[in-house]
Symmetry: C2
Subunit: 309 residues, 2 copies
């Protein structure tokens, strides 16, 4: 193989009660990336469309991940990388994770698959570290594995793939405001009430059970975050309104995607998802804030090959 | 039907990371209870074997639950109740819950099943309130539903039944020491670190996933309690030793049953469970503390009818 073109999906992390451990991948939104073997050694970013990202190989997430992989698996060729960002960085939909996971997956293909999915996740986590300072796994694992993933533990890393109920749909709105990672972190409490923690982990248990059993009522009951959402929602204009509108038009629930500002809603079936989409759009259009929206099935396959030759 | 004799299982609550929300029922340990219709109205405890429990109908858990049910569903007959406790109260294996759940189930049968399992759980929770001051659901729900149950939320009560992996076995040791509920509560921290809470709920997610997917490795990885066990284990003599011995002889993990003093270990398969049983027994027999042990499959059917006529 000389060249591979892949699609790497956007991802929703911090799925309500599953703060810092539960994520899922999105079908209709992501990065398209092309990786080409070259006779000159070295890793080069040859083009970036759709976002203002670094060309420096050490600083660009995709090339940084590639360099790390080639350290572990040296080769006698170079690699050119071109990236088409399908959505804006800073949305809370795992933009850096899509690039990092896409690079890890594609390089593994170019090298004839020396690495496992778990190893690819670890390489991609290095990309997250470059991008945002900490090697978080939930977005990159969701992009690599597809579907819902649980980061069950970090040391050693254990990723558990959770089934996706067939009719589950995502609606998301990205208000064009900036939520600084620093602000999103600073509002987090250092400690929480044990009783609140119990409520939250009972909901995590319920959510995982609902996903396995395709019990949408249990999913809806469990999609709650009583710990992080209450302190972060103020960073996102009209969060409460969007959540209320989503639930009133039939969504199972809604929450903050990653650390925002994107708000996601999960729905049972296309018809309800369309209603929720329209209702959220209507509720937001007079707010004086630009926004984009997405409507999508849950991506179950993760990063995928578009072309190879 | 004039008379019904039932078996109501012992239960393990606070299953490691699932503190205050996850429980399961035990096959080989529980109460045998007989409920007989009488022509004199009123509810009477006619016999109690195996434990020193109140005969006062308002104070005995089984009759108190019966009285509450008859308030909601008046009848023109009375009920005599006799109880054979199969194991000691105060063990941490849901002794009061077994009596409460047994009564709720049996009375529902005598009344021709007017109530749902969820309603029976609520009646039995009243028994828990009588016995220990708070209407907790995890033991009684496990006894009524059988298998693993998750108390997903209290308001309104939502009980989720979780599948039981076929080879899962329980080994438990009950050291004959008293852990006062008051002491077990007082050591609980009011607040916990958010990072610890995240670790705990990722384990809850992993445990539920492992139970659905029969993935014993994920179950073993997730059966951890970094919040409650560290502060409660000092109330149970040689807890660390028993846990270490259990894991070293092949148990998936071990933890505190309820608020103790019983220590439970979960194992994959009978052979390992027997090894774990022997190893725990050997480790404890020179400690100068009397103890009983149990070895059992997980009970998947809940309270069951032994005889009716």
């Amino acid at each position: 193989m000389k060249q591979i073109k892949i699609f790497s999906p956007a991802t929703v992390a911090n799925v309500s009660c599953g703060f810092d451990c539960l994520g899922f991948a999105v079908n209709n939104l992501g990065d398209t990336m092309t990786f080409t073997k070259t006779s000159n050694k070295g890793v080069k970013i040859t083009g970036i469309k759709g976002a203002n990202l670094p060309y420096d190989s050490e600083k660009n997430v995709a090339s940084a991940v590639t360099l790390l992989m080639l350290e572990k698996h040296p080769v006698d060729f170079g690699i050119d990388i071109s990236i088409e960002k399908g959505y804006a960085p800073g949305s809370g939909l795992g933009s850096s994770a899509a690039s990092a996971a896409g690079a890890a997956f594609a390089i593994n293909e170019l090298l004839n698959r020396p690495f496992t999915q778990l190893e690819l996740t670890k390489f991609a986590m290095y990309g997250e570290k470059i991008a945002c300072g900490s090697a978080i796994a939930d977005n990159v694992a969701a992009a690599i594995y597809g579907g819902f993933i649980l980061v069950q533990q970090y040391e050693p890393l254990s990723i558990v793939k959770i089934p996706v109920p067939k009719e589950l749909m995502l609606v998301a709105i990205h208000p064009q405001v900036k939520v600084r990672t620093k602000d999103a972190r600073e509002v987090l409490p250092e400690k929480v009430l044990l009783t609140d923690a119990v409520t939250q982990w009972a909901n995590v248990g319920g959510l995982i059970s609902g996903l396995y059993s395709e019990n949408y009522e249990v999913i809806a009951n469990s999609l709650k975050d009583i710990i992080v959402e209450p302190v972060r929602k103020h960073l996102i204009p009209h969060f409460d309104l969007v959540k209320e509108v989503a639930i009133n038009s039939g969504a199972l629930s809604a929450g903050i995607s990653g650390s925002g500002p994107t708000i996601f809603a999960l729905c049972k079936g296309e018809e309800i998802a369309k209603n929720v989409y329209d209702a959220i759009e209507n509720s937001y259009k007079d707010k004086g804030i630009d926004f984009t929206m997405v409507y999508s099935k849950i991506n179950t396959e993760g990063v995928k090959i578009l072309e190879q030759n």
